[in-house]
């Protein structure tokens, strides 16, 4: 089912300080370089004081609004697993791709009555229940640690999203966009991180494909 022809809708879910807006700018810049219309909407203000941070990237041809209609995301990029699930239940439709970091940031524990943070297994089970296409979960913080660059988990996740082939942007296009959006001193690091996420998903997909054939 194609929900809206010629428009790609990406929801980015995270908690404060995860580089959510940078990730959306990189995606938007890449689409803009291709001559497409782009729109990024973000949560802001009071919501940012420790709350969920949520942005939406839309790109495509012709006119469209700033907000992704409910159950209208082509891809959900989770920088944090609970937030990915929170938005997935609002934006999923049977063709949505979900790619999420598994590193949890627990909300500030309120009183004893607060609902418990779901385990990763539970989150994965829920993804299974609601998704129809595919989902990927990876520990981007661990990959970032491998690169000795703890700040890079958001770029790893963007690379993973591209690797999943859920959206019509290539790794090259994204890398060029990163060049426009990053300060020179972190550019190389960002490119390396993108590649890392991309390769990780590609190799995982390959593995799955080979197990399917045998």
């Amino acid at each position: 089912m194609v929900l809206q022809e010629k428009i790609t809708n990406i929801v980015i879910a995270g908690a404060g300080g995860q580089g959510n807006l940078f990730a959306s700018k990189v995606l938007a810049q890449a689409a803009m370089n291709k001559g497409l219309q782009v729109k990024i909407a973000e949560t802001y203000g009071v919501a940012m004081r420790g709350g969920s941070v949520h942005s939406q990237v839309r790109f495509g041809e012709g006119e469209f609004g700033p907000l992704i209609p409910t159950n209208g995301a082509d891809a959900i990029l989770g920088l944090e697993p609970l937030e990915a699930l929170r938005l997935a239940v609002d934006y999923v439709y049977p063709d949505t791709m979900i790619v999420t970091n598994t590193r949890a940031i627990a909300p500030v524990q309120g009183k004893a009555s607060a609902l418990p943070y779901p385990s990763l297994e539970t989150i994965a089970k829920h993804f299974q229940e609601i998704h129809a296409k595919d989902f990927f979960m990876l520990d981007a913080n661990a990959l970032a640690q491998d690169l000795n660059d703890p700040q890079s988990s958001n770029m790893i996740m963007v690379g993973a999203l591209i690797g999943s082939a859920a959206i019509p942007l290539s790794l090259d296009e994204i890398s060029t966009a990163v060049g426009v959006q990053s300060p020179a001193m972190v550019l190389q690091k960002n490119i390396v991180a993108l590649r890392k996420g991309f390769d990780f998903i590609q190799s995982r997909q390959q593995k799955e494909r080979s197990t399917e054939t045998c």
């Binding site: 004081r49 609004g65 009183k111």
Partner: protein, 682 residues
């Protein structure tokens, strides 16, 4: 700085007409002002308008104009008026409630034939996502009888702001450009236009008087101006009219909501069948176009954000017209009366109205049910003070002081607007009221006098006190009202991203100018009891509050400490908190009643509650406040992390910031007597 150098910093300042860049709506608005040759820009920080002036302040040194944060919106507007009287173009950017503050001046400047173009940008926070209310600024434009433009895209925002200066000069009245949160905070592609070169030097024209009194003639002139404004505005062809005379249904949408209307029609495949009037000139409204729509329709859906400004005008046109189509909108209760317009709401309405339309594809019921079931199981991610926020210390010590005096039941604690407003909710639940900027002062004064048996305390931040709290503070002193005024002085306007205010003491170019000490202000007003403490130093604040609450006269307690958000940019020796696992009893005091986001809980078999606390060192900023929130002294600062950080920052050793911070660290020592007290208060 050369313009080429400016370009290197930010594409939004680039002198490259025709170039397409990725920008935010608020930047597009600022760019429009730069292109128009603005000579003075002011405003007061307020989500969602803040970035307009932030961009203009950054631009001011490049392009050589004046830009500064006003002490409040009225001062900002008055400054713009001064610029206009001097023949200079000026812009004021505020959020919707800011229009309330400046409205006193607006309602009188409109009676004067102004010279330099004066543009008021009002950004409405639709849905009140970061505000106390929802409010529709278009009514102010109608009320003040001034032109109002409403852009729907970034390119329109840039162009309309630019054009608004011409219109303002042409007509001799201020012009409002109304934006909404979704436009101001939208990032999208936009095309740059040409930047005007300003060679005219501003000079106050003293050959005439700038007064609107006696007011009847000036008011008559104003009426004439707005009557003819339609002709001027029509020439720009801002309004969009996709006219399909064969259609019995039409949409009339205002400003940014045009986007939702277009998308809803596209989703339903109706974009070439249904008439769409996209209104951009909100005052005066294009009523001839309304009549053209009325002439061929049976149903008109009016789409707009916040109130029923357009809808009532369309109804008025229907009343004058021989035909009588049904008008559907917020007033008719067919669309939700409050909150944002959504594509979902519109498609739902249109599906009912348009015969044989293919409905918007959705998910099946089973999937929807599954989603609902999951949704209710997810823990909330509530809003909270930042890690290292001084307000946490201020409130923690205050709540313990109130409890130690057994005042919990009886106190009236009146709050105000800022980050410290979060004190309404858990874990502190201290504040019982909040209305408008600075209102806590007058409200508390009255309560303390009407109900003298009830201890009254008001909490206000530095920026809010300067903004509109000063008159009320003076009232407390004049009435000798027995209020304990707590000033959470974090030296900036924190909520909107730590802009400088009078407590910071930075002048508009960022150099150190002078800082206003709030205790001096209170002393000048006649406060006899003033206590100043360090918000991080919880034992000290605890005893200051106790002293202050025992006094039956106007009293001030200043909890001073820089906002953690502002401090992130300063070179900082950073240590980290550490929980000594053997000492943590799992009592959850620091989690339930203190609540720093860097303190997290894990399961443990060795404690009574089955839980132990640990520190997320990526989130912790090492403020040290939490040490006082542990009755068992399990939380300490990590000395090795401190040593490492000092080593890493040794090249800043002589910088002022390093020294102040270093000094403050040694000042805070664990206070044993407070811990003992704390144990009795749990």
């Amino acid at each position: 700085m050369s313009r080429e150098a400016a370009r290197q910093i930010k594409p939004i300042f680039s002198d490259a007409p025709g170039e397409r860049i990725l920008a935010m709506g608020n930047q597009a608005i600022a760019r429009g002002a730069i292109e128009a040759g603005v000579q003075l820009a002011s405003g007061y920080p307020g989500t969602p308008s803040t970035e307009i002036l932030e961009t203009l302040i950054a631009a001011s040194s490049i392009f050589g104009f004046q830009a500064f944060w006003g002490v409040n919106e009225k001062v900002a507007f008055d400054a713009a008026t001064g610029a206009s009287f001097s023949g200079a173009r000026s812009l004021v950017a505020v959020k919707h409630v800011g229009v309330n503050v400046l409205s006193d001046s607006l309602m009188q400047v409109n009676h004067i034939d102004i010279a330099g173009g004066l543009v008021l940008v009002a950004v409405d926070d639709v849905g009140g996502m970061s505000s106390n209310n929802e409010q529709d600024s278009r009514f102010y434009a109608a009320f003040a009888e001034i032109p109002c433009l409403e852009p729907a895209t970034l390119d329109e925002a840039r162009l309309m702001v630019k054009t608004a200066f011409d219109i303002s000069e042409n007509m001799g009245v201020p012009v409002m450009v109304r934006s909404v949160n979704r436009l101001s905070h939208l990032t999208a592609s936009m095309t740059l236009g040409e930047i005007a070169v300003v060679d005219k030097k501003p000079e106050f024209d003293s050959s005439r008087t700038w007064v609107g009194f006696p007011s009847l003639d000036p008011h008559r002139q104003l009426r004439e101006k707005i009557k003819h404004a339609g002709e001027i505005l029509n020439a720009y062809e801002f309004n969009q009219f996709d006219h399909h005379p064969e259609s019995s249904i039409a949409l009339i949408a205002g400003g940014f909501t045009v986007n939702y209307a277009v998308e809803a029609l596209k989703i339903l495949g109706q974009e070439n069948h249904v008439t769409l009037l996209g209104v951009r000139t909100s005052n005066p409204l294009p009523t001839e176009m309304f009549h053209k729509v009325i002439d061929h329709t049976e149903t008109i859906v009016v789409v707009e954000d916040v109130n029923w400004y357009l809808e009532s005008a369309v109804l008025a046109c229907v009343a004058q017209n021989a035909r009588n189509p049904k008008v559907i909108g917020r007033l008719s209760d067919d669309l939700p009366p409050v909150g944002e317009t959504t594509v979902e709401n519109l498609t739902r309405i249109l599906e009912k109205l348009i015969p044989d339309v293919m409905p918007r594809p959705g998910i099946d019921e089973k999937l929807a049910d599954t989603c609902n079931e999951i949704r209710v199981k997810l823990p909330r991610r509530g809003i909270n003070f930042c890690a290292g926020c001084p307000h946490r210390g201020s409130y923690y010590s205050l709540s313990k002081a109130i409890r130690s005096l057994d005042l919990e039941e009886k106190m009236a604690v009146i709050g105000d607007i800022g980050c410290y407003t979060l004190g309404i909710w858990e874990p502190f639940s201290l504040l019982k009221s909040m209305t408008s900027m600075g209102a806590s002062m007058g409200t508390a004064a009255a309560i303390s006098q009407l109900s003298p048996d009830q201890k009254t305390l008001a909490v206000i931040g530095d920026s809010t006190l300067f903004h509109a709290g000063q008159p009320g503070l003076l009232q407390i002193a004049l009435n000798q009202a027995p209020v304990t005024v707590v000033v959470t002085d974090n030296r900036v306007t924190a909520m909107t991203g730590a802009q400088a205010d009078a407590s910071t003491g930075l002048d508009l170019r960022g150099g150190i100018d002078h800082s206003v000490k709030i205790e001096d202000l209170a002393r000048a007003y006649g406060f006899k009891h003033i206590f100043v403490g360090d918000a991080y130093n919880i034992p000290q604040m605890f005893s200051l509050y106790r002293k202050a609450l025992a006094i039956d006269a106007p009293t001030m307690v200043i909890a001073r400490r820089e906002c953690a958000l502002a401090e992130q940019t300063a070179p900082l020796i950073q240590t980290k908190a550490k929980v000594r696992a053997n000492k943590c009893t799992g009592c959850m005091e620091c989690i339930d009643n203190f609540g720093c986001p860097a303190l997290q809980v894990r399961e443990s078999k060795s404690t009574g509650s089955g839980k132990k606390v640990f520190v997320d060192i990526n989130a912790c900023v090492g403020c040290g406040e939490c040490r006082y929130a542990c009755p068992d002294d399990a939380i300490t600062l990590d000395v090795s992390a401190l040593a490492k950080s000092i080593h890493e920052n040794r090249r800043h050793i002589f910088s002022a910031a390093f020294r102040t911070i270093a000094k403050n660290y040694w000042k805070i020592k664990p206070a044993w007597s407070f811990k003992k007290k704390l144990r009795t208060l749990l």
